[in-house]
């Protein structure tokens, strides 16, 4: 008896659906709409709990960081509420069988479906635990690798590509420094992208970029292969005179050695040198940062300190990831800086990203800044899947 009714119901639904198809709209049965992964729904409970804890903290004492965090979580949760209500609206509308109302209901569903898809996209993105420093601006460091002057030219091309990308995204940027060797070729470029959250987009650029093309200087028309190394760091400090005091305090005096590149001699009134370079050695890690682009020595020092903090933050982030992987008994991948992540093949007008096996057949569009996002989005998608898989792994082992 029950099965009969069910049968009847389902055929009825098919009928309704048939009608709806007839009205030439493209609507899906609620169960066919994309769904949130159950683990992400579990995260909602965790976030609700977090929110409560934060609000207790805020009651006793105002703190800007806690407040921002609170606002962020509550906006995610309200997105989730909105998502739920859109979903139930769609289901309700779908269940309307009154022939007079079906047309309106169908219209309504057509309007709601894109909203539903947008919300689920956003929730998919926001409900997963964020990567460390995702909200930060970033710093891109570029160095030529193998290939001599052609590698230097390619490094410059990459710098230009990221600058164009900033224009495309309407992001503010500054070239922190650009050093040339004694033949006038670039041997280091550091770009700061001052948009909060840009780290989360640009971080996929870290690694070795390889170019295959005929250098301008090549007379026999042979294709050369050269490389440039890109390192993306989260920007922790502004690196100006006002952040210098705080940045200096961040380190214990015996942790760092500050060197000024100055010729010997009496100094003071005796000389009027313009050399204002500053070099900082971080003794525990051996990291060395040098800044010389500013005429002002304190400004060089401030920039060097900020760069050092970014480098240490990135190391800290990678160590944390590796630690978590080791808890999961996963292979700890030493982010091998010699791994080629991408090839720019000019003769074939092709850029291939080896991590996601994606090829873009528009080098010019990428270098001009507006197509790079296609590669990055692909990488983001893959990264998301990996992170979701890790989240699932974490739950199943618990």
């Amino acid at each position: 008896m029950i099965t009969k009714i069910l049968k009847f119901k389902s055929s009825f639904i098919n009928l309704v659906r048939f009608n709806r198809y007839n009205s030439s709209t493209n609507i899906l049965h609620p169960s066919e709409l994309p769904q949130l992964h159950p683990l992400l729904i579990k995260r909602v409970d965790i976030l609700k709990n977090d929110l409560q804890n934060l609000s207790i903290k805020l009651e006793s004492q105002y703190n800007e960081e806690i407040q921002t965090n609170y606002d962020k979580i509550s906006s995610i949760l309200s997105k989730y509420e909105e998502f739920n209500s859109v979903r139930s609206e769609i289901t309700e509308l779908y269940n309307i069988t009154d022939s007079e109302l079906i047309k309106d209901a169908t219209m309504e569903i057509t309007n709601l479906q894109p909203k539903y898809t947008d919300l689920i996209k956003e929730l998919n993105y926001h409900l997963i635990p964020p990567i460390k420093f995702a909200e930060k601006p970033c710093i891109i460091e570029m160095h030529p690798g193998v290939g001599g002057s052609e590698a230097a030219l390619f490094t410059f091309d990459l710098l230009q590509m990221y600058i164009n990308f900033c224009h495309f995204k309407k992001w503010k940027f500054t070239i922190i420094s650009m050093n040339k060797n004694s033949s006038g070729f670039i041997n280091e470029a550091i770009l700061s992208i001052d948009e909060p959250g840009s780290y989360d987009t640009i971080r996929f650029e870290s690694g070795v970029h390889r170019v295959q093309r005929i250098p301008e200087t090549e007379t026999k028309g042979r294709v050369h292969t050269s490389t440039a190394a890109v390192v993306v760091l989260p920007k922790i400090s502004e690196g100006n005179e006002s952040t210098l005091v705080e940045d200096e305090k961040f380190f214990k005096p015996n942790e760092i050695r500050i060197e000024y590149m100055r010729a010997s001699g009496k100094g003071g009134q005796h000389v009027n040198t313009t050399d204002s370079a500053v070099r900082i050695v971080h003794l525990p890690t051996g990291i060395i940062v040098k800044q010389q682009d500013e005429r002002s020595q304190p400004r060089n020092k401030a920039k060097a300190f900020a760069l050092l903090r970014s480098k240490l933050a990135e190391i800290e982030r990678i160590e944390e990831i590796n630690f978590q992987k080791s808890i999961r008994n996963e292979q700890v991948s030493t982010t091998d800086r010699s791994d080629k992540i991408r090839t720019y093949n000019y003769p074939q007008n092709r850029i291939t990203d080896h991590r996601c096996n994606f090829s873009l057949h528009d080098i010019d569009g990428c270098m001009k800044g507006n197509k790079l996002i296609e590669i990055i989005n692909k990488l983001k998608e893959d990264d998301y899947k990996t992170r979701l898989r890790q989240l699932i792994g974490d739950y199943s082992t618990k």
């Binding site: 050093n179 040339k180 004694s182 033949s183 006038g184 005179e241 005091v245 500050i258 000024y260 100055r262 010729a263 001699g265 009496k266 100094g267 003071g268 009134q269 005796h270 000389v271 009027n272 040198t273 313009t274 050399d275 204002s276 010389q292 682009d293 500013e294 005429r295 002002s296 020595q297 304190p298 400004r299």
Partner: protein
């Protein structure tokens, strides 16, 4: 320091035609490239050629670009007035931070031998947004320095009072009508005549300094410190002083004279580990924490 060889010049020319003239004053392509970048950033294109040619004649870059960064200020520089040095900037920032920490009700300060005015202007700038009332004065014997200091004051919208005056004038305090003073600073000329004539390798001055900066701002010795103490520090109500110097003997002299008058004295080194300032304070005066800036206390 590399020698400027024909090869180096050729190499420089292959990078930019503006580069070779910058080599003698810079000695390395790296530093010359930086100077060229600053020239290109700060001057219109039609002045680049003239600028690098001036530099070939050892004109200080600071006179060519007409400024020198000094803390948060960009001090205007002109021919005839000494260019502010990074060593001065360094101790001046330390002093400013120390004064900030004191949370004084009022700071009355005199900067003797003020030149561009950089010391007094930086202190003024660093303290202007604190609760401390400021009454800051600077004086110099050179008319060019006096004019430029006033120009810098206006350029930075600050409120230092500048005067013409001579450290060797016994009545200088009365003439300036400044008796209620608590801090005296100075970066007087401190290069002994015999060193002024030596090469930079023998503790002398560099070619660019010798050829283009005023001798009046450079040559001096013990007599300046002696007069700073007798004409300014002792007759005023000051309870702190900071004088820049270049030689340990100068610090010793200040200690000898000041300790007899009830002062505690110490000296401080700069970040290149060179002796750079002599500091004095009263044992239980407002500025006794000047001691914390010292690397050695007598």
């Amino acid at each position: 320091m590399t020698r400027v060889t024909a090869k180096l010049i050729r190499q420089a020319r292959s990078i930019s035609p503006y580069l070779p003239p910058l080599l003698p004053a810079n000695r390395s392509i790296n530093q010359a490239l930086l100077e060229l970048k600053w020239i290109k950033c700060e001057l219109p294109k039609n002045e680049w050629r003239k600028a690098v040619n001036k530099r070939l004649k050892w004109v200080p870059l600071q006179y060519i670009l007409k400024t020198q960064p000094f803390g948060n200020l960009n001090i205007l520089c002109k021919d005839g007035v000494l260019i502010p040095r990074w060593e001065t900037e360094e101790w001046c920032m330390k002093l400013a931070n120390l004064i900030k920490g004191l949370k004084l009700e009022k700071l009355s300060m005199i900067d003797a031998c003020t030149g561009t005015g950089c010391i007094s202007l930086l202190i003024n700038d660093e303290l202007k947004s604190t609760a401390t009332n400021l009454d800051i004065h600077g004086f110099d014997v050179s008319g060019k320095a006096y004019d430029l200091a006033k120009e810098n004051n206006e350029f930075h919208h600050l409120s230092v009072n500048f005067h013409l005056g001579d450290v060797f004038d016994e009545e200088i305090l009365d003439k300036l009508q400044l008796t209620d003073v608590n801090l005296i600073t100075s970066n007087p000329p401190y290069i002994p005549e015999e060193d002024y004539n030596k090469s930079v390798l023998l503790n002398g001055v560099s070619k660019s300094v010798k050829l283009h900066e005023p001798k009046l701002a450079l040559v001096g010795n013990g007599e300046f410190y002696y007069n700073l103490l007798y004409n300014l520090v002792f007759p005023s109500s000051a309870d702190g002083f900071v004088f820049e110097l270049g030689y340990k003997e100068q610090a010793d002299l200040v200690n000898e004279v000041a300790k007899l008058n009830g002062w505690r004295v110490g000296y401080m080194k700069d970040s290149a580990e060179k002796i750079r300032c002599v500091l004095g304070w009263k044992a239980d005066g407002k500025f006794k924490s000047l001691k914390d800036l010292c690397s050695y206390v007598y």
